[in-house]
Subunit: 335 residues, 2 copies
């Protein structure tokens, strides 16, 4: 009986080993069809080949293949303004009756009046107040439902499509390609973690526990009926942007990425932190250069400004995606 | 060529499907040999069978099979005092020369003099000061090395063995059993996340990104030579204990566990939060009842007090492990 069991286990081990070759064989078809055939695609596939070659000088064990992606402007559209801000403004307007004090107080007054110019002028401090107000008092489950209900009906003003359709097809392919090669893919975004976690698994295949983002205050309490509850508080606890990104990575992931992709100066420190590790590294930036199919912006944009990171990335030879040239398809709905 | 490739893919799919049966077949041998045959083991295996039965009324998809474990007293020994406190005291003593101000300031004076009674009397506030001081000024990599160097030489005062050998064999089996059944295993501990992350992958098979714990302040900066660095600050930012555990779970995992295991009142809120979800749930407590093989303590212990959680767990029918009765083997080194 023992020898039979051992033989069976050997057979299964052999089958499992065979099965593990599936991804490699499947790559006879192009895993990145929307990436054209430029330098960006070559950088990516060469990097992946280097770190996954068993016995090679740059081999990285699967457990250490951590890849981090910014969200707004890197995985989905961030123009004309961050999707979460649109949601938060809608939510402030929808709940304004319960908050008469907002009628005379900025930036709430601007939000209620849909005065985007004044709201934008309130800067990140103002936007964060709106964002915090949009989740205060809700349990995480309630907030989740609110976000999903909004995403189901809200449409992008230019593309007239749900925001979750405005994700970049080349990046969906890249996420899947990295995972097929043993990478663990994370989002590291200045956006609210809870806002993203409601939908990232379905849209990107990235589960909630691999989403790092900004976070509001959160409190545990026993409700009057004796059941435990978590309640969102009306302040921001952690801003996962700029120098906050390496801090968020260390706190939530606890390992330095070997692969990082961003699109703005808010990603610079994440890319610097990734670059400064030892061994093979990949640093990528999406440069929005296609006003026709998406948007063209960089150094002078309030949303997603790409200035210092463009200079540093150029100087240091990071991979800079020229959206117009490098992406043959931008959105999944394109033919 | 196409049909050949398809045929090969079908073959591989069949092999993969076969290979996926390995865990099920392997379970003809007992996956929990150190659990004896009492009620605790039955509770665990019945729960796992219910949530993994495809088409069953309690089926939970793998992505939602989140299991959270406390660390001190649940996965490894916490007596006579938390391992991290022993480390932190050693570290304070080793670096005392650089901090002349500690000579006259409690709780540092007590730590330097190895006066554990005075240190214990300083309460959790005092212990946290020692813990924060033990990592302040170090980069995460330096701290990691310091922890590993200490663990390589420090011995437990009673068992005279490295602390990493004083992990509970039944819990190692349980972690592996859950993972073989599609669960994702997390640590949710009041201990420092960085302290644990240095060794949890090797000892428990739990990677850094699945370790939730207390966290000190952390700052990103560019050093004088222009390279980016993260530096630990001398204060505690987040205490992942008691009501902090559900908060930590929501922030770091973003899903409610369906399975949680603890051993003290510091785990009560995590267990309540787990219990309050819908669908099948498992709540477990390790009750330290074996003074001969390990320790016996509960309601009156300063370290790992189990009082309110014992009452609530008993009243609500949670699984309470009687260490003496339910575990046939406690440590891996036992014959």
């Amino acid at each position: 009986m023992v020898s039979f069991r051992l033989a069976r286990q050997h057979l299964l081990a052999a089958l499992l080993a065979l099965a593990c070759f599936t991804p490699a064989l499947a790559q006879t078809t192009d895993p990145l069809p929307s990436w054209g055939n430029g330098a960006a695609k070559k950088d990516i596939t060469e990097f992946v080949a280097r770190v996954t070659a068993p016995g090679g000088p740059d081999f990285v064990p699967p457990a250490q293949r951590i890849a981090t992606f910014d969200n707004d402007g890197t995985l989905w559209v961030e123009k004309p303004i961050y999707v979460q801000v649109v949601f938060a403004v809608d939510r402030v307007r929808a709940t304004a009756r319960q908050h008469p004090e907002w009628q005379k107080k900025q930036p709430f007054k601007a939000a209620i009046e849909n005065d985007m110019a004044t709201l934008a002028a309130s800067g990140s401090k103002g936007l964060l107040q709106i964002v915090a107000a949009s989740q205060a008092g809700l349990t995480p489950e309630e907030y989740d439902k609110t976000v999903l209900a909004w995403l189901a009906v809200a449409l992008h003003p230019r593309f007239n499509r749900p925001y979750t359709e405005l994700v970049y097809q080349p990046m969906l392919e890249l996420l899947a390609y990295l995972r097929a090669n043993g990478f663990k893919t994370f989002i590291v975004s200045g956006g609210g973690a809870d806002f993203m976690r409601a939908w990232t698994e379905k849209i990107y295949g990235i589960p909630p526990e691999q989403v790092v983002g900004s976070m509001g205050g959160l409190k545990f309490e026993m409700t009057r009926d004796g059941s435990p509850a978590l309640i969102n508080l009306p302040h921001i606890d952690f801003i996962d942007d700029g120098p906050g990104k390496p801090v968020g990575i260390e706190r939530f992931i606890g390992r330095r990425p070997i692969f990082a992709f961003g699109n703005s100066d808010g990603d610079l420190q994440m890319l610097q932190w990734t670059a400064a590790g030892s061994g093979a590294r990949f640093m990528g930036l999406v440069h929005h250069t296609d006003a026709e199919r998406e948007y063209a912006y960089d150094r002078h944009s309030h949303v997603g400004r790409l200035d210092k990171a463009l200079d540093e990335g150029t100087a240091k030879g990071w991979t800079i995606v020229d959206m117009k040239r490098d992406w043959t398809r931008i959105f999944p709905f394109e033919p």
